[in-house]
């Protein structure tokens, strides 16, 4: 049994011991173990690396660390070699052999295996020189890809749990709330509600039992921000929950996570166990007298359970359906007790905010959207993956400067921002800053931060149909507006892409959009028509061409009635 941490010195000793141990190595190789790289067989990279270094007799001099996602999912498996910060991409066993003999034994960088910048048409070996990384500011992702995800001492070595220690031993709960308020952090799950205000409300409730809940039910197609954090830096979520629990006065926290994230479930579970072992969860944490513990609740992957009232219903063991608000969760939440619910990314920011101060965080971002935001890029973009940038950066900078633009010389047509609940941003609006307000004005939303980039070969009617198919599939069935509204909209869209659209269908869609948005019970239904409304707004002529002229300018529709062909293609790239 490890000794419980009660003093700052214990934390510092752990950090020192870890750093000292790393000092002894000539090279530290960080192998990305994010979901994308796992799929690209990064495990083979790691085992080959271990075997080859052993064979070359440098086993004791090279430390191989498996990390969370580095963000460059399109070119995995990837690894970073320090010192030098050399970034190798698209690795395989043969390449590893060469890298071991050339780089790790002889000290020569194998440039042809390093990152290739398609725009510049050359290799850029050093991570610090790569455009993809240069413009990013990593706060929520500060540890993802930079340390072993499964080692609490690695987290402590990067100053982990220091914020929690300071808060529990020195700060009042109100002071913690104040810091979060000062940071200007807004909920990263989609709605963008100011986190500090939410915490204040929960803090102010008088109740014997309160709950902290982490919403890890990330379900937008193409979204994997939260998954990357849970996979790559689970301890930051544990620490965020601990800080939240302390701030609002909750003794129990639930992490509600979808069962489709088995790796994340395993890693966050392990992180909780480690934290318990070190006395960071449990009774009398850091000798402060504060008790807090975490439990994992698995969801069956129902999209609507990301809605907070449905999520709570699911934790309570009921059918995952939303209910009318108010009462809001802080008034009557889980089991009728005051409850504070935050999303994974929001929570991952908290330790950094408490450690460095709200003001520090507020230096990033713009007026009413402070800080940074993680975006997941999918679709027709060179670098699909995840990035974290200061809020307010334009979409053009994100897509072209950071992610390398559109592959194969194609033109960009639109970006679906905010997933199925969001809308499209067209080429002419790409210079709009990506913040909550600006995107909303365009009829899109920031949402959880998904950008699906679509090139000129995309049919906008079909893309609207795809997103409507998703919401129809994920509607819980409780309220009439969403249950039947999404179904009927989908049927109209299906007949348009099948060449059976009728004059007046667009107007019918518009009428349905208005009513569904206006009368649905929860956010899922209220935002379900967005993709359709926004494509009608910007691409009305494509709808008319389908209906009147039987033309699909992208050449996607009317083909053998194979309605599934396109979404399969899209899905293949997204996930």
């Amino acid at each position: 049994m490890t000794e419980s941490i009660k003093t700052l010195k214990q934390l510092e000793d752990i950090k020192k011991a870890y750093l000292d141990a790393q000092e002894k190595y000539d090279y530290i190789v960080y192998v990305c173990g994010g979901a994308g790289c796992v799929a690209a067989k990064c495990d083979l990279v790691r085992t080959t690396l271990l075997a080859e270094t052993e064979k070359a007799g440098i086993g004791g001099k090279v430390s191989v660390i498996q990390t969370g996602c580095m963000g460059t999912c399109a070119i995995g498996p990837v690894m970073l070699v320090t010192p030098g910060n050399i970034f190798y991409t698209e690795l395989n066993a043969a390449k590893i052999k060469t890298i071991v003999s050339e780089h790790l034994v002889n000290g020569n960088v194998v440039e042809e295996y390093t990152f290739f910048d398609a725009a510049l048409q050359k290799h850029v070996p050093k991570m610090d020189d790569i455009n993809f990384f240069k413009k990013q500011v990593k706060i929520a992702l500060r540890n993802c890809g930079a340390m072993a995800y499964d080692d609490i001492t690695a987290y402590i070595a990067r100053d982990g749990y220091q914020a929690a220690y300071t808060a529990l031993t020195e700060l009042s709960p109100q002071k913690v709330v104040d810091e979060v308020k000062a940071s200007g952090l807004r909920g990263r799950g989609g709605a963008g509600f100011p986190t500090g205000i939410k915490w204040q409300a929960a803090h102010d409730q008088k109740a014997e039992q309160k709950y902290m809940v982490c919403n890890a039910d990330e379900g937008d197609p193409g979204a994997f921000m939260d998954r990357s954090i849970l996979d790559g830096d689970p301890h930051s979520v544990v620490e965020g929950m601990l800080l939240g629990g302390y701030a609002i006065g909750a003794s129990i926290g639930y992490i509600y996570i979808r069962a489709e994230y088995p790796v994340a479930i395993e890693r966050i579970g392990e992180a909780i166990d480690q934290a318990r072992k070190y006395g960071i969860l449990g009774k009398d944490i850091f000798g402060s007298g504060f008790d807090f513990d975490l439990e994992i609740r698995m969801g069956a992957g129902v999209y609507v359970c990301g809605e907070e009232t449905a999520l709570m219903a699911s934790i309570e063991g009921h059918r995952g359906e939303p209910r009318q608000k108010p009462p809001l969760p802080f008034q009557s939440g889980l089991f009728g007790c005051p409850t504070n619910i935050n999303n994974v990314e929001t929570l991952a920011n908290i330790p950094a905010i408490v450690k460095n101060g709200g003001k520090w965080y507020a230096q990033y971002g713009i007026e009413d959207s402070k800080g940074t935001k993680v975006f997941a890029l999918a679709g027709d973009v060179v670098m699909t993956g995840i990035v974290e940038v200061p809020i307010g950066m334009t979409m053009r900078e994100i897509i072209f400067d950071i992610c390398g633009g559109i592959p194969n010389g194609k033109k960009i047509k639109a970006v679906q921002s905010g997933g199925p609940s969001g809308g499209v941003v067209t080429e002419i609006d790409l210079d709009t800053p990506t913040d909550y307000k600006s995107l909303q004005q365009l009829g899109a939303i920031m949402g959880s931060g998904i950008l699906i980039v679509m090139n000129e070969d995309t049919c906008m009617v079909d893309s609207a149909r795809y997103f409507m198919e998703f919401t129809r599939e994920e509607s819980c069935g409780k309220c009439n507006a969403c249950r039947l509204g999404t179904k009927r909209m989908l049927e109209i869209l299906e007949r348009i892409v099948d060449g059976e659209g009728e004059e007046g269908d667009v107007e019918l869609l518009e009428e349905l959009c208005e009513v569904i948005a206006n009368t649905s019970l929860c956010g899922l239904g209220q935002t379900a028509p967005n993709a359709v409304m926004s494509t009608i707004r910007y691409f009305r002529e494509e709808y008319d061409e389908h209906i009147r002229d039987g033309i699909c300018r992208a050449g996607v529709c009317f083909t053998d009635h194979d309605k599934k062909a396109y979404p399969q293609r899209l899905r293949g790239r997204v996930l």
Binding site: N480, N518, T519
Partner: protein, 603 residues
């Protein structure tokens, strides 16, 4: 209090009201399909949306509470458009076979459409229509379901039986028992409360009218009997006030329909008191004089309740009185005592019961409810079905003259009338038992045992026997404790007490439906918020209007014992009037294991 403005009209209302309720106070009607006043506001139909100044979206008025300064529009263009589209959406997943639907004319979906002025349905598309699930009692026709989930509230929140719930997701959602199993395979007690609250024809009693018409046409001797609760409710089927006492018209209507003998279940209610009272005294005597007896004894008139205990407390069936329910007693007597009298064979006689109950349809199919291989009762009509038959026969119910039930099985005392309301069976039993034991009249104003009158979920009373007659000396100084509940949720509380060994009671009355038989699953659907109270009042005044108000005073009962039964709880009584029960367990697991013959589905 909150000052609000509705449609330009300023008004002050209590601040715990919903917009829907507040609007009603100023005479503004907001249509709704899923709302159940006082029970459940689910917010599924969205039809009741209104515009609230400052709100981003339209608000459902059934769930949104008023706030001081709130400005509400219930009839703006935006609202009307939304309601129409929502209504059209509901129709798009409804079979729209209105002309052949039993609910045509009483359908709330129809009524709302009429109010909204919807004249078209623009959203044709896929329609989920699983095959009908016809159980002995209840028919589920999900092609007509609008997923308002009132039935789910009735089944879970009110009755706590937890059988019906939403299965599947989104457009594929269907209200069904777990795993989409048919009702007959689930732990459904057939109380029929779901059929009362269903706004459409999706949940309804399994029709027996055709079967009864066939009996009437067949020429066989067809006997009818009516439960107490019918006489204060059938009038509603013909536009009369709830609680209207139409006993005389009812007897005339049955005769006009062509029944050969018009008897009254009230008669066997009186008989039940004699049998059950005797049984109770026997158990108490045994318990107090060193013998063994299971107490508390629990009434057994309500077949929904019986099925509930068989599913949920299969080890506690000994607590039930062994008395059959009054209408099956009647059936047994008709096919024995009365058949003898008129020189008919039991199998040549048909007995039809008009009941406020859907569970009775199940009950008559139980293998226990037979004598000599002949079922005691051949068909059960609900009050609603009888209403339909009277209409079909072209009988002007309101204009009918009064007439009487026929003897020897038609006369009853006031004690029998109150069998139809929660607390009534217990009161009737106490009237007789107390007098039997002490020789004195039950010491309550107008003979009403005040603590057990009314609609509280669990009611109790205690009576101390001070001065018993010599035969009952063992009761001297004993305080008899009784409890009364209606609805299976209340029954659960009392049963859990028994399970824990903490029940302080000797005698418990349970009726399966909240409020008792007057609110049974087969009763007319009423929009009157005071329907319960009105029907209760109807039964109590029927009781008070009678000269004889204690079951043991019924001269035909005395005669029946002299001519046929011999003595209470005697050999003949046991043969015809008493029964036993079947442990079923959840989803009939015990019954299946013991290979108990499944009740035959008449449909």
């Amino acid at each position: 209090m909150a000052e609000i403005t509705i449609n330009g009209l300023k008004t002050t209302v209590a601040d715990d009201l919903t917009i829907l309720e507040a609007a009603k106070t100023v005479g503004i009607h907001i249509p709704t399909l899923c709302n159940m006043a006082d029970v459940s506001s689910f917010g599924s139909c969205r039809i009741c949306v209104v515009e609230v100044e400052g709100a981003r979206t339209l608000q459902v008025s059934c769930l949104t509470k008023v706030r001081d300064g709130m400005v509400i529009k219930t009839n703006s263009g935006k609202v009307r458009k939304a309601r129409r589209v929502l209504y059209e959406l509901l129709l798009s997943d409804h079979d729209q076979e209105c002309l052949t639907c039993t609910r045509s004319g009483s359908c709330e979906l129809q009524a709302v459409g009429e109010v909204l002025g919807v004249k078209e349905t623009r959203f044709a598309g896929e329609h989920i229509s699983p095959p009908e699930d016809v159980s002995v009692s209840i028919t589920r026709d999900m092609g007509k379901c609008i997923l308002c989930r009132r039935c789910v509230a009735a089944c879970n929140d009110i009755q706590n039986t937890g059988v019906l719930n939403a299965q599947g997701r989104g457009f594929d959602t269907v209200i069904a028992p777990a795993m989409f199993s048919p009702l007959g395979d689930a732990s459904c007690v057939f109380c029929g409360q779901c059929t009362v609250v269903c706004p459409t024809g999706a949940l309804r009693e399994t029709d027996a009218t055709k079967k009864v018409w066939d009996m009437l046409d067949s020429g066989s001797r067809t006997v009818v009997q009516v439960a107490p609760a019918i006489r204060v409710a059938i009038g509603e089927e013909f536009g009369m006030e709830p609680g209207s006492q139409v006993t005389g018209k009812l007897a005339s209507a049955l005769r006009a329909l062509g029944f050969d003998d018009v008897f009254d279940t009230n008669f066997t209610a009186d008989l039940t008191i004699i049998e059950e009272g005797t049984e109770f005294l026997g158990r108490v005597k045994a318990a107090l004089t060193g013998g063994t007896a299971t107490l508390p004894m629990i009434t057994s008139c309500s077949p929904g309740w019986i099925k509930f205990i068989e599913h949920h407390y299969p080890d506690r069936l000994d607590n039930l009185s062994t008395c059959k329910s009054p209408h099956t007693m009647m059936g047994a007597l008709v096919k024995s005592f009365y058949a003898d009298k008129i020189g008919k064979k039991p199998e040549d006689m048909k007995v039809v019961s008009v009941m406020p109950c859907t569970a009775k349809k199940f009950e008559i199919n139980r293998h226990e409810m037979m004598n000599d291989g002949v079922p005691n009762v051949d068909a059960v009509l609900t009050t609603r079905e009888l209403g339909r038959m009277i209409r079909e026969a072209g009988i002007d119910f309101r204009a009918l003259p009064d007439s009487e039930f026929e003897n020897p099985l038609g006369m009853s005392t006031g004690a029998a009338d109150i069998f139809g309301v929660t607390g009534g069976v217990m009161e009737a039993a106490l009237r007789t038992v107390f007098e039997l034991v002490t020789g004195k009249e039950l010491p309550f104003d107008k003979l009403h045992v005040a603590p057990i009158v009314g609609f509280e979920q669990v009611k109790e009373a205690a009576i101390t026997i001070e001065d018993p007659l010599p035969d009952y000396a063992f009761l001297k100084g004993v305080t008899v404790r009784v409890a009364v509940t209606s609805g299976t949720a209340g029954a659960t509380m009392l049963m859990d007490q028994i399970e824990k060994g903490e029940s302080p009671y000797h005698f418990i009355e349970v009726m399966g439906c909240p409020g008792g038989c007057i609110m049974g699953g087969g009763q007319p659907r009423s929009a009157d918020p005071n329907v319960k109270e009105k029907r209760l009042k109807g039964l109590y005044s029927e009781d008070e209007s009678k000269v004889m108000r204690k079951s043991h005073e019924n001269p035909f009962i005395t005669k029946l014992y002299e001519e046929f039964l011999g003595e209470p709880n005697g050999h003949k009584s046991h043969e015809y009037l008493h029964t036993h029960y079947t442990p079923r367990g959840m989803e009939n697991r015990l019954a299946d294991k013991n290979m108990v013959k499944k009740e035959v589905n008449p449909a």
